[in-house]
């Protein structure tokens, strides 16, 4: 693909602990995500998926190798600079939504802008527009406890997108949702990449969710075991992925 690379991992490694108890969570991973690309990361539990996401998002520092965000080495930046990068260029989506219970949907979605010093009114109108796009236009004033799990995750997605980031990182975004809601969220992430031009890197265990991606990366013991480019139609991909997963296990 000729499109520009948004984020690139070079020989990325992460070792937890030292000496005998050292655990290599990630071991020499090379990976790049282009603009508008939707990449799914799969693999058995403990293979280092979350670790990879943390390193790419600047939440954790690598033991070896580097992360280039739009060509710039991330971990050479100061903590504040990395934080600013996260605030403006990277959106995060968590398995457990992590919404603030006392804030309404629109206030939650507006948080990154508010943290960036943008006037609350402006931030809120942007957040409202995004909630509209993720299908929650009617629930702007609802608090998290008044929303279903799928709706809460949509709020989290709106929050991830509100700052118009280049990259969205999602760690098992459907891990807490039923099949129906999972499919909707997966489709939304697909739309995010294809129509809105964001790069999306998503960790998932669910083949039907991964089927929406452009590419699937299989991790095993901290290394990339296999990479597969998928078809544009999710339904066609499911059988293929099911086979791959069985083979990988």
């Amino acid at each position: 693909m000729p499109a520009t690379v948004v984020i690139q991992a070079q020989d990325l490694s992460r070792v937890h602990g030292t000496g005998d108890t050292a655990i290599t969570a990630l071991d020499g991973v090379n990976l790049s995500v282009a603009q508008g690309e939707f990449v799914a990361v799969m693999g058995p539990s403990g293979c280092g998926k979350s670790t990879l996401l943390h390193l790419l998002g600047g939440l954790d520092a690598p033991s070896r190798g580097s992360v280039l965000f739009e060509g710039q080495p991330v971990h050479k930046l100061s903590d504040d600079a990395i934080t600013q990068l996260r605030r403006r260029k990277i959106g995060y989506i968590f398995q457990f939504f992590n919404l603030i219970p006392v804030l309404t949907a629109v206030e939650n979605a507006a948080l990154p802008l508010v943290l960036d010093g943008i006037a609350p009114a402006v931030a809120r109108s942007k957040a409202a527009a995004l909630l509209e796009r993720v299908g929650l236009g009617g629930r702007l004033k609802s608090r998290p406890d008044q929303l279903s799990a799928g709706q809460q995750q949509r709020v989290a997605i709106a929050r991830a997108l509100v700052a118009e980031p280049a990259l969205v990182l999602a760690d098992e975004p459907t891990g807490n949702l039923d099949t129906q809601a999972s499919q909707e969220i997966a489709a939304l992430l697909q739309q995010m990449a294809r129509d809105w031009g964001r790069s999306v890197l998503m960790v998932t265990h669910d083949a039907r969710v991964a089927a929406h991606a452009d590419r699937v990366v299989f991790l095993r013991d901290g290394r990339i075991a296999q990479e597969t480019v998928l078809e544009r139609n999710a339904a066609d991909n499911q059988a293929l992925l099911a086979g791959l997963i069985t083979a990988a296990a």
Partner: protein, 853 residues
């Protein structure tokens, strides 16, 4: 098992455990520290005045401690079984500082005028050198070894002693073995000499007797016969010295206990808050334990074990700190006590009752505060506990708010009543009302202050976050704010009282002590041990050129029956003799009932009239026009109350004023113990001062002071006492700091994941810190606002209450400095309390935080 688990849980949250425990420790410290101070002071006081009881079988004194006629010994002498019996004079002499030179620390002498012939049969005097007194002795004395050492005196040396007739030198004829208690050096002299020196012809203050030995039946019979002969005025046993002063001190003790208890209550608040959070945090643990078969009681036991542990540790630490505090106050207050009351402080007195009470309260409050949350936890069904806690913000209880508002309204109405009991009740209701209503105030106050905070931290969303965090748990925020409120209310309230008291005292002092010169004995207000001077001194002073007026005080001790039907023992009364005309021309009183003119006229008449002071009126219920019986050396006499009023020195002592003529007639007292001198307008003050200094040089028991200087000195000392009291009160606001810190720290722990998320989506460390500071400031602002409000009310109630009770009338002075100090302290506390949690929040590892359950 419960204890192991409790210990693990507590150690798992060291900071929180430490802070909660510290809150209890501070409460215990105040309770224990002040509980040590007053008994220590009283002990010193009693030691100073205590008559040397012991060694003899029977001691007989007058009920009031007054002297009585020596003829009273006769009827006792005739009783069979009395082996030896004699009357003697015991009199404590307060010595002016450095009376015996710079380095000699002898604060008082206990003069014992004994009958040389009978004394040996009563006591066994062990002589180190010389001999005992003999019937033929003139100005002779026998002293104890310790005094001889202190003054470097030997047999045949001369011992100077201040007397009403000036300093008299006694020849030391013998030195007794042994060492007296500090400040209570015994000097034996012939009875006849003592009677002469102190103008007590044929009078004695105590009868001592020894009974036959080895015959219990006869001894019992003799004792019975003595009791039958006592009559109304005499009593067996030595006198409880200075009871009027003791009563005043016991009132202070109660006030101190109250303050300590409040401090402990704050600790309770804090523990309660912590345990509520602990229960919320451990919902899942508790659900799991219940699922695998833990009973309700086991859950309660687990939580109570934790609070018990904290209570025990906090109380132990508090006791140690309290001992230090007691020491510090005792040392700090020693100077003033020495100067005004001639007291030497001894070892700290720790009453077993105090120790028991403090421990019970410290551990008890901790346990009680843990009980309610524990009970709540035990009510959780396993299923409910395993489900995630509702994320909905806590609702504010409507009933509590309404009840609180009603109580506040009621207390305001009581404020208007001006009745002491209603005022006191109103103060309590106001507090409870504020505590109940405070959850409802969290929202509006937070909203109002977040506007301010938003200005401070322009447009970063941190102010809003902070506000959201607080309004999420209005109950917890309110409890924290309540703890702050109680702490600051005490400071502001006591500030109001202290400022008002200070102002009023100074005004009164100026009125009562406004004369040009004063002759001041070593102990003022508690006159008993002071040595006065005979009329000769007064006459000499009157003769000094430029002296326009002289007023003196004379003193006798008496007692009057307590409020009729109250069943209380007699009230000890300081009876002051004044010259009505002279007194009101030089000094003045503050009258609750009656006027100076009428009172002076009534006292000048040849009738048994007296003026009683406010505290005495309050204790007896006596009013102007009533008749009261006073004990005199010759039996009870009826006196008529003509006015209620008093001077500043006697404000805390039950006191009555009579004319000096009456005091002489009924109580045989002629010594002047306090002088106030006014000069003519044209007099040369410096020359008059030199004259007076020369005259009073012969009476070293008095210190000649210039009125103006004395006033300045007094107000300086007063300020020092107030500053000390204030410092103590400031200590009390410390737990509110801990309360805020605690709530913030708990908030940070609870929101760990939230903080992780915020950091992940791009909040900087600085933004996290600011959120916590903003939250702290909001909390502190809430607590401070309430605290100042409650404090002002409290102060006003105390001032109005004390005035209404008639003990001491004062004007309410707005404690502006106190309010400003409280506001500053509140904000400072907010920032200080934020420091640790702030670091915690900022330093949090994002990934670990996101993982946190």
């Amino acid at each position: 098992m419960a204890l192991t688990l409790a210990l693990r849980y507590l150690l798992g949250r060291r900071l929180r455990t430490g802070l909660t425990t510290l809150a209890i420790a501070i409460g215990v410290m105040v309770l224990f520290g002040t509980g040590i101070y007053i008994p220590t002071m009283l002990e010193a006081f009693q030691r100073n005045l205590r008559a040397t009881a012991g060694q003899v079988d029977v001691t007989i004194t007058h009920r009031t401690g007054a002297a009585f006629t020596a003829r009273r010994t006769e009827k006792f002498l005739r009783i069979a079984g009395v082996r030896a019996l004699a009357g003697s004079i015991e009199r404590t002499l307060n010595l002016p500082p450095e009376f015996y030179g710079r380095d000699v620390r002898v604060g008082a002498l206990l003069l014992l005028g004994v009958d040389p012939a009978a004394a040996a049969a009563l006591r066994d005097y062990r002589l180190v050198s010389g001999r005992f007194l003999q019937a033929a002795d003139g100005s002779a004395a026998v002293i104890a070894q310790s005094l001889a050492d202190a003054l470097q005196l030997k047999v045949d040396g001369m011992l100077p002693v201040p007397t009403p007739a000036g300093v008299v030198k006694l020849r030391v004829v013998g030195v007794l073995a042994g060492r007296a208690l500090a400040g209570n050096e015994q000097v034996f002299l012939p009875l006849r000499l003592a009677q002469k020196l102190f103008d007590m012809p044929d009078r004695i203050t105590v009868i001592e007797a020894n009974l036959v030995e080895n015959d219990d039946v006869q001894r019992a019979a003799a004792l019975q016969a003595i009791e039958a002969q006592l009559g109304k005025e005499l009593q067996l046993g030595a006198l409880g010295a200075g009871s009027e002063f003791m009563a005043a001190m016991q009132t202070s003790q109660i006030a101190f206990y109250l303050i300590g208890f409040l401090a402990l209550l704050m600790g309770g608040f804090i523990i309660f808050n912590t345990f509520r959070t602990i229960v919320a945090e451990r919902r899942r643990d508790i659900g799991m334990l219940r699922t695998i078969g833990a009973s309700r009681r086991a859950i309660i036991g687990l939580l109570l074990a934790e609070s018990l542990l904290q209570g025990v540790i906090g109380t132990s630490a508090g006791l140690a700190l309290g001992y230090g505090l007691g020491r510090a106050i005792t040392t700090g207050g020693a100077g003033i006590l020495r100067q005004y009351l001639n007291l030497e402080m001894g070892a700290l007195v720790i009453e077993p009752g105090l120790l028991a009470t403090t421990i019970t309260l410290g551990v008890g409050v901790s346990l009680l505060s843990g009980l309610l949350p524990a009970w709540g936890a035990s009510r959780l069904t396993p299923l409910a506990a395993l489900r995630p806690a509702a994320l909905a913000p806590q609702q504010v209880g409507r009933t509590g708010t309404l009840l609180g508002a009603t109580l506040i309204a009621a207390s305001l109405l009581m404020l208007l009543s001006g009745r002491f009991a209603l005022l006191a009740l109103g103060g309590l209701l106001f507090f409870i009302g504020l505590v109940l209503a405070s959850p409802a105030l969290v929202q509006p106050v937070a909203a109002a202050f977040s506007v301010l905070v938003a200005q401070l931290f322009a447009r970063e969303g941190t102010g809003e976050l902070a506000r959201g965090n607080l309004t999420r748990h209005p109950g917890r925020a309110a409890i924290t704010a309540s703890a702050t409120m109680v702490g600051l209310a005490i400071v502001v309230g006591a500030g109001g009282l202290i400022f008002s008291l200070n102002e009023s005292m100074l005004v009164l002092f100026r009125k009562s002590m406004g004369s040009d010169f004063l002759l001041v004995p070593p102990s003022i207000a508690v006159w008993k041990g002071d040595v006065g001077a005979s009329e000769a001194l007064a006459n000499k002073i009157r003769a000094v050129p430029g002296v326009a007026a002289l007023s003196t005080l004379r003193y006798a001790q008496t007692s009057m029956p307590a409020r009729a039907g109250s069943g209380l023992p007699d009230i000890a009364v300081s009876l002051l003799g004044i010259d009505p005309a002279a007194y009101f021309s030089v000094s003045s009183m503050d009258f609750n009932a009656g006027t100076a003119e009428l009172a002076a006229a009534a006292l000048a008449r040849n009738e048994r009239n007296l003026i009683i002071n406010g505290i005495l009126a309050a204790q007896t219920g006596l009013q102007s026009g009533d008749t009261v019986a006073l004990s005199t050396p010759e039996g009870q006499q009826d006196y008529r109350v003509v006015a209620v009023g008093g001077d500043v020195l006697s404000a805390k002592i039950t006191t009555a004023y009579v004319s000096q003529a009456l005091l002489r007639q009924d109580f045989h007292k002629r010594e002047d113990i306090f002088y106030q001198v006014n000069l003519t307008a044209t007099a040369d003050a410096a020359a008059a001062g030199r004259w007076l200094a020369k005259i009073t040089g012969e009476y070293p028991q008095f210190r000649l002071v210039v009125g103006r200087e004395y006033l300045a000195e007094f107000s300086k000392q007063f300020d020092a006492v107030f500053a000390g009291t204030y410092l103590l009160l400031a200590l009390l606001s410390l737990p509110s700091l801990i309360a805020i810190l605690n709530t913030l720290a708990i908030g940070v722990i609870e929101r760990t994941r939230e903080i992780g998320m915020l950091r992940a989506i791009g909040a900087t460390r600085r933004q996290m810190s600011r959120t916590i500071v903003a939250e702290a400031l909001l909390l502190a602002a809430l607590g401070t606002a309430l605290g100042i409000l409650a404090g002002l009310y409290l102060g006003y109630v105390m001032v109005a209450g004390i005035s209404a009770s008639g003990i001491f009338r004062m004007q309410y002075t707005f404690p502006l400095a106190g309010v400003l100090a409280a506001a500053a302290a509140g904000l400072l506390f907010g920032v200080l309390a934020a420091l640790v949690p702030m670091r915690q929040a900022a330093r949090m590892q994002i990934i670990a935080a996101l993982r946190y359950e």
